[in-house]
Amino acid sequence: MSLALIDKLHLQARKTSEEDVGKICSSLTALFGVPEKSSEATALMRQLFFILQAKETSTRLPSGLIFNLINAVMVRDRGRIKECLLCERILQEVFPLDKKFDPELAKLNEKIPSPIHLWMCQDIESLSKLFAKAVRWLKAQDLEWEAERKLFTFLVGVALIHPDLLSADRVRSVHERVGSWLLGAGLYQAPNPYSSNPFRKDQNNPVTEVDGTPSNNIFTVLSIGQYYTDDQLVNIFSFSMLYQWISNSYHGLLINNSYPMEPGDDASDLEKDDELDLYRSQPQRIRSSSRSSHVSKNSDDTASPTSVASVEKTPVTKTWSADLSKSSRPRTPVRKAQSLVTEGDGDRFSLSVTSTASERLTTEFKNSSPSDTVWLTESGETSERPVSTQTTLSLSEVPRSPNPKAAMDTEEVKRELTKHVFEPLIGRTIDYCFRLLDQCDRKPKNQSDVELLNACQLETVKLLEFVCRIDGAQIPRVFRELKRLMANCTQDDRNPKLLIAILQFLVNHSKAVAYDCQQELNKLFHGVLSRNFDQTAVSFDIVMFVLDNLEKLTHQYHVMAIYFPNIFKILAWNPHTFISDFQDILPAMMSSVTSLEVFHTLVDLPCMTVALEVIERTKHLDFTSLQPVTDEQPTRALDAFKNAMFRPMFNFFTRSEGGHGDTIDRLDQFHTSIQDMVDLPRVLVCYQSAALLLRTWFSVILEEVDQDFVSRLLPVLTGAYRSCVRHTGIQERYAENHSREHSASAQEVSSDCRPTAR
């Protein structure tokens, strides 16, 4: 299919008149909900969607059709899921809707809170109500996994888009649920849901590790089973969204000034939600019955299919508890007690949320340090109230407390308060992450899981890093684990992305464990970067790492001043991709010592690109097959590279560290020798990028220029001009791009400095 055909189709769609759209809509309205005409209706919907998506302006649809669409989205007929999804997509195209549809949309708010509400629900008040409902519903233990997934995704979405809706009690209650999802999933596979044999006997196979050995530790996203139970699927989804939830809810709570107590967040409110019953898992449904290994809450449920799983769950818990005590990783006594308590009152008894949760809190407080006593008192008073109100301590109350912490500044207090909200989740997140890291040491049986393993390692390190930001007390043990991991990935250059993630942890937290990560940073910006600048993902991660830590890398670790020539390799190789990023990075590379060398590096950036190209091409080249070297001036870059006189120039342009001189003496000769490569697309784009960066360079200089620097700069500028003028071949492009930038900025510099020079 050619572009011309696609163009033609798009043009047709765009030109569709309102009348024609009207016709499609009226036929569609007539066919809506007529079962025997469903395929015609689908065809019309496809057509309508195609037109709407292609149009540049939004189109108004007749009210009748919109009512039908909203209704289809609301009912969500399981048998017609494809059509429902398309209806949703069409609605998205015509959003926001007219006010007259508000009552209809309000009905949608009575349904299970799901991500669709994030864009459909226009007013913050309804969203707030939905948020409260989602938190409430989440406490119901017997929901279908799909419903639980939707609720959690909705909560993550709210934390992302409307962090102002978050409150400590709600977030804490979500944490408790998520924590039990993470560590509470069963270890046995689900029976085959597609088997139609009524006499089959479900075999209780345990899930396996990625290398095929049976698993007897915490279930994670890396546990392999033929089929998964509901709780295992929820485990997979909750881990997938964990970082987003933790980071967004943490930032949300920090920016909220007080933690309002929401009335009606009570678990007993669950009874009011009739709608909730629709989402409870029912044993007769194939999917949920076969997939549920949730521990059943009724003792008379033992005859139901779920009983197998519930019986199996006990030894699993035991194994894990036993594992805990055997674990080689030291745990603080507080953590240990907490883990065991958590495990004990996890899924099994959690229907009586109120009592178990307050018990847990009491236990936690018994274990907490004296500095936390304020919490004991606060929650001691409230412990008879439902769990959701236990941490509702508004900031204004804090200064009145007799605790010495009252003297702390508000920011500190806020962090302390927020840390407390995260307590139910922190320990469990770390346990899950450590378990994942152990699993990542195994060799996957299935090749397609290799990439997943890498992603898991990265996610784990990111999560651990964030958890340590919330609770500094966790840094030492996380540090020990990550140090081991780092030793692995610095030994062989196998996983640079992981190294970068670990370095992020070190940059943020190494102070707490009195560790200096300078050496590791040097490794990244020297060897690892030199070997991987041509790897898209690695170079992007390095650029992101630099941008995120610019301040520390510049002033604390002095990486930017030392390794800027190496960092420029990323740009020289990808001049199109990273130009705007380097405009942000460049000023950090410039100091009174380095600015001139940076200037030369920018002017010579195309030479760096050529040198890198040549080195890349000669990697697999047999030098003996090339023509012997002569004394004549080489005119091909490859010949120059072979030539002992020129080789040092290539080495200079691809140097890793700054401070070895500004540029080379025989630059003209070098330019002549690489003429055959200056028209390469990468080199051409590099000229443009270098010109843009020179503009940035000059703007920084203009702001901070002093007389001494100008006196050093002016001869350099004249030299660069001379070189431009003398060389026509390469410098046509300089003339086009550089010189224009140069002359304008240089004039500015000199005029700026004239008064001072006098």
Partner: protein, 191 residues
Amino acid sequence: MVHAFILHTLFPGSCKVLFYKIYGRSGCTSEDNEGTDSARPERGNIDYIASQVHSEFQFRRSVTNRSVEEEVQSLSQEDQLPQFELGFLRLPAEALYSEEKIVVWLGTGNTCFTLVCHKNENRTIAEHVLKILIRCTQDYLRLLNQPAEASLKGERMCLILSRFLPDGTLVFMNHRVVRSIERELELLIKT
């Protein structure tokens, strides 16, 4: 939860968005949206991102010396997916959205699969999910050979996305999870 999924063309010339889906709300343009019934700012953002990726891909094509014909030819080989080009773009804060976003894209000769991610999202898992989406859309829509199918059979695209990118979530799917979703899809597509 990613911000958006975009499917667009990579042919030289103009870039056509074939399918897109926005998850959640952008956060910054909600105010701009009000009162601008006809302008569709979010659609403009999608087009802009697609064109940026398109331009980056043209650059990559030129530096690797590949011709469009070669790329399209590699698509005609049955039961074997062609080589994909992977790329990332940073959208600085306030450029399009109030917060920084990262674009992860995976493309071949004529079609590109692009995810607009929030900054803290795992880019390796985004790449993993994109690969799964490519394989699946190739199975059910022959998308690499007939890119326009994505716009013409929107309901299939919606269904595939709803399973492998449920509500925009990048799920850590091991090969068994992928397999069970594929089986479920097989049944759903037939109905």
